[in-house]
């Protein structure tokens, strides 16, 4: 009692007991009334039972041979066996890049590097069907991360600009490795139709994401242009692309567009598909960007104009940076849905991860009952990538939140 009276001047009174900490949280959220307590207990029992059953199935009943015996198919499709080292080296390069950015940026990159390394170690040592060569390869990932971490000071010296440069170089080299280079022995270009599995999903998503930012921003700015031709062209592009389902666009790019090409020109299906996804994603990005910029307070533009900044300066320095920051969650949401949408390329006969799973089950009698294992595995792979993106998004938002109102 004396604490409460003294609170007026001295130390403020403590909160009532049982309202703070774990106990307080539990009482408030799970046991606030007898009805809620009942719901909590029933749900806990049901969920607990489901979880125990699932784990039991995963460990005891499930037959994971359908995955472990053909990991390569799921990861890279029909990529030629004698060139398989190329995507493997690409993965190690990117792991090393992760190590470098861990040393340079810490925070999010560290979380990722540690997470990936841990997963790799677990996959590398758990007693299951992987052969010894693949195990060594998986265990090389944490080694590459460590190597990148050690070499980071001499390579990028803690400078963000060099870090970005290093990232671009590594991604470019990785892509070159996977595609191959004309006339270099051992690096002959692969037939792009052999690229499949997760690699195909990742490549299409990478191109879609990489292109949609610049093109989408360009379209959004073009849509607000004072030049009627530019403005109309941008609006027409955005509305036409957004008005048509991705599947239809993929179909048209595969079957109808080539009819309009001259006989002697043949564009690779993979490239056509990538371009289609890039354009599709850009149209959506354009509308996101426009929305983000429209949400910037009009006073910002007025202040910029009053200071004598020109129109394009106002856009590039004031409205665009703020607009993009407004829409980080929307952008990442779009990237996530784009990544998942890449599995739609099955419609034009490409063997992405999901399609590869379907084909595996249906074309192998011994696996005809292993659909659950396959789809659980595919779901887990997609979830890991999508969750990673949303994790990065949240970290970026928090990091940029410093100056937010």
């Amino acid at each position: 009692m004396s604490a409460v009276t003294a609170g007026a001047m001295g130390r403020p009174p403590p909160p009532p007991p049982m309202t703070v900490g774990y106990v307080g949280w539990l009482r408030k959220n799970l046991f606030s009334s007898w009805a809620n307590s009942l719901v909590t207990i029933v749900l806990a029992v049901v969920l607990g039972w489901a979880l125990v059953s699932l784990i039991g199935w995963v460990i005891v009943t499930a037959d994971w041979e359908v995955i472990t015996s053909r990991v390569q198919l799921y990861l890279v499709g029909l990529y030629p066996k004698d060139g398989i080292w190329r995507p493997q080296v690409a993965v190690l390069l990117i792991s090393a890049l992760l190590g470098i950015s861990w040393r340079t940026w810490g925070g999010t990159a560290r979380g990722f590097a540690v997470g990936l390394g841990a997963v790799a170690v677990i996959v590398g040592v758990i007693p299951h069907g992987l052969d010894i060569l693949n195990r060594i390869l998986v265990l090389a990932i944490p080694a590459a991360i460590g190597l990148g971490y050690l070499l980071a000071p001499s390579l990028v010296a803690g400078r963000s600009r060099r870090m970005v440069g290093a990232a671009l170089i590594v991604v470019f080299v990785a892509l070159l490795l996977i595609r191959g280079i004309e006339g270099v022995p051992g690096l002959e270009p692969v037939n792009t139709r052999t690229i499949g599995g997760l690699l195909l999903n990742l490549l299409l998503a990478l191109f879609g994401i990489g292109a949609s930012m610049p093109i989408g921003i360009g379209l959004a700015l073009g849509r607000q242009s004072n030049l009627p031709v530019v403005k109309f062209a941008c609006i027409a592009f955005i509305e036409i692309i957004r008005g048509v389902p991705l599947i239809t666009l993929l179909f048209m790019s595969r079957h109808i567009l080539p009819l309009t090409f001259p006989e002697n020109i043949k564009i690779d299906t993979l490239y056509l598909t990538a371009i289609t996804i890039m354009l599709f994603s850009s149209a959506y990005m354009a509308e996101n960007v426009r929305g983000g910029m429209a949400a910037v307070a009009p006073g910002q533009t007025e202040a910029a104009r009053a200071l004598g900044l020109r129109g394009w300066q106002t856009t590039m320095l004031i409205t665009l940076p703020q607009g993009l920051r407004n829409i980080i969650p929307a952008i990442v949401g779009q990237f996530i849905s784009l990544f998942k949408d890449t599995s739609l390329v099955f419609i034009i006969g490409m063997l992405d991860l999901v399609e590869m799973g379907r084909v595996t089950i249906q074309s192998n009698l011994e696996f005809i009952d292993n659909g659950r294992e396959v789809y659980l595995f595919i779901a887990l792979v997609f979830w890991i990538f999508c969750f990673s993106m949303s994790y990065v998004s949240r970290r970026i938002e928090r990091a940029l939140g410093v100056g937010q109102r």
């Binding site: 307070a297 006073g299 910002q300 007025e302 202040a303 910029a304 104009r305 009053a306 200071l307 004598g308 900044l309 300066q313 320095l317 004031i318 940076p321 703020q322 920051r325 410093v402 100056g403 937010q404 109102r405």
Partner: protein, 270 residues
């Protein structure tokens, strides 16, 4: 005409200013001339037939009920709003749609807004440095030095590297004033600079404005801070329904208003 004033603005102005400020107000030149200015929003006539001359170094406080066109009027002085009839000349530059004129005028005229309108993604220092670097092409070091001096002048040098969201309203408004001053304007426009502030922060902003007025800056202030007006204003302008109803020194406005509407409004707010 535009050219002479531009050279003035960039080179000889400070000394000229000092000489001019020695003169009594009546003998100084007109820095702002408005003749028969009209502005419509759609069919609504926001400003009607306003004529006003402002001397170099003069402080004019503009007041009146909300919706009386006072904000619209000062926003026309740096062309955030276009006037549709009449004539506005700022420091010898006629207000037209000519882009070069517009650039010259924006350089002459600084503006402070009710909602501060600081750029939230930049630190206080970068807010101030932006326009000198991008518009006046001032080297980075010089811009930074100027910005730090200005922060000193408005009394918050220690807040240089904070983002607007980390500052109090009064501090934000002082940064906004410093940002406008960084372009070395001849004229400062204040659009209700203290209306969005908590009472204890109004004084710190008014103090900066007082100092600015004492330094000889030409100021047009839309404000209802009547104490500030009585103390600092050379003349006061009462707007109602888009028209300039009465214009005169504070002594006249407060003690002997010539118009009944001025008297009625003052009775309401005092």
């Amino acid at each position: 005409m535009a050219e002479t004033s531009q050279t003035n603005g960039s080179t000889g102005m400070p000394e000229d200013n000092a000489a001019i400020l020695e003169l009594p107000l009546e003998q100084r030149d007109d820095i702002i001339v408005c003749e028969g200015v009209h502005k419509w929003f759609g069919d609504f006539c926001a400003v009607r037939d306003v004529s006003m001359r402002v001397k170099r170094g003069e402080v004019v406080v503009i007041f009146g009920p909300s919706g009386s066109g006072k904000s619209t009027f000062i926003r026309m002085i740096n062309r955030l709003e276009e006037h549709q009839q009449g004539r506005i000349v700022v420091d010898g530059i006629e207000m037209t749609n000519d882009v070069r004129n517009l650039d010259a005028i924006r350089r002459e005229v600084g503006m402070v807004f009710q909602q501060f309108n600081l750029f939230p993604h930049m630190t206080a220092l970068n807010n101030i440095m932006l326009a000198p670097q991008r518009v006046r092409h001032m080297p980075r070091d010089e811009a930074q030095q100027t910005a730090l001096q200005l922060l000193e002048r408005v009394g918050i040098p220690e807040q240089a590297n904070k983002y607007p969201a980390e500052l109090s309203g009064g501090q934000q408004q002082r940064v906004a004033i410093a940002r406008a001053l960084a372009m070395q304007p001849e004229i400062m426009l204040f659009d209700e600079p203290t209306s969005a502030l908590d009472p204890e922060m109004i004084k710190e902003v008014l103090d900066v404005m007082r100092e600015l007025a004492a330094s000889g800056m030409t100021m047009l202030c839309v404000t209802h801070e009547m104490g500030f007006a009585r103390e600092v204003a050379d003349r006061m302008a009462f707007f109602d329904e888009g028209a300039l109803v009465e214009l005169g020194p504070p002594s006249q406005i407060f003690n002997d208003p010539q118009e009944e509407r001025t008297q009625l409004f003052l009775d309401q707010i005092l």
